[in-house]
Symmetry: C2
Subunit: 223 residues, 2 copies
């Protein structure tokens, strides 16, 4: 398969502050590509300077990653993960029920869990000195815990959300990791073990190393 | 096609408070089914009483809708919309680029836009009397506006997000409608016209009428 297929390209940042290293979303796509041993190229963008206006035609929210494979362009990590999943059963099982369970959990990670985690992250990173932040955060924490408990209960004794490892786990593990600056995930032993299981995978380790390595390439440093 | 296929079943609530009528998420699935003229059955659950424990095996977050077609069960409106989209080009175009644009915008609606709209909704509905709410809401409003502006700019002069009408529009129009108690969407004339265009579709009107009609069936009222 890979010989005939064009090498995918994804966008990433050439530098981000420490708090964002290892959680920028191109990691999700790199991880999926590493799981199937698919070589890819990165197109590095500046997080500090404005991106060129033309980038919006590829990524309308001016974020990373955007993705291309030959003439096909797409954006949103959920969509990119699904696109890669359709190419390889190691990312998305072929059996109908397992496939749709994985897709349901992919959407869950991004729509039922991440929004509640992101609120905590936004408070902690963008509003930490505001008087109104602690009570607002406390209210958000209640909702976040509720969602994490649901995921923990649903996972039960299984290793992965939809049976075999899948794009759902890539999404959920990386969503849980956005809370790494807190002790919230530690309240759920099953989720803690699940996250560790994901992050121990060699493909995750290679993806993480590749993202971090790209931050060393910032042109302004080299200049 | 429809003759041979089992009638889909989705869960919905038998009653919700006024503020939620017309925005409960089963509307998204009903709308998609109405677009393709596919008959369906609803299984009504109580929003006031706890759902049976067994429901979590179908919908792990204890929400509506959950969906079944024959033996296949799934959850998350994004996943259900995609499942239906794969069955009918009127919901998801077959051309590769148009298909993946629609899927990217489906994920955008649910991951890049809805979380920022939901924060406003949560503040307005759950925390409206808290002292900390106004400044917290103001901060969230900035992010919400930023996302809406991106969608408006990307839409431009087109009628629908990915070319032809698709599941992306079902998701985005209904996400925008969660802000109906505010004037925020009105700040973006293109989004206002886009939302009206979606809500004028006969399939949307039928779906809305069906959701509202089910609220009249509450067993406790009939008793």
């Amino acid at each position: 398969m890979p010989e005939a297929m064009p090498r995918p390209v994804l966008t990433a940042f050439d530098w981000v502050p420490d708090f964002a290293r290892g959680v920028v979303r191109d990691l999700r796509v790199r991880w999926a590509l590493e799981e199937i041993g698919r070589p890819y190229a990165t197109e590095l963008l500046s997080a500090r300077d404005p991106r060129p206006e033309s980038y919006l035609a590829w990524q309308p929210f001016d974020q990373v990653p955007a993705f291309a494979e030959g003439d096909l362009k797409l954006f949103e990590t959920g969509a990119i993960l699904l696109y890669l999943g359709e190419q390889d059963e190691r990312l998305l099982p072929a059996d109908a029920q397992a496939r749709w369970s994985a897709i349901a959990w992919l959407f869950s990670a991004l729509n039922s869990v991440e929004p509640f985690a992101t609120r905590i992250v936004v408070y902690d990173l963008l509003h930490k000195d505001e008087d109104w932040m602690p009570p607002a955060r406390e209210a958000a924490l209640g909702l976040c815990r509720q969602k994490l408990k649901r995921v923990s209960d649903a996972l039960g004794e299984r290793d992965w959300l939809a049976g075999p490892f899948s794009i759902a786990d890539i999404a959920m593990v990386t969503v849980l990791n956005t809370l790494r600056h807190t002790r919230i995930v530690a309240e759920y032993p099953k989720l803690t073990a699940y996250k560790a299981r994901g992050e121990e995978r060699p493909a995750y380790q290679r993806a993480l190393a590749a993202q971090l390595a790209d931050f060393e390439n910032e042109p302004s440093r080299a200049a």
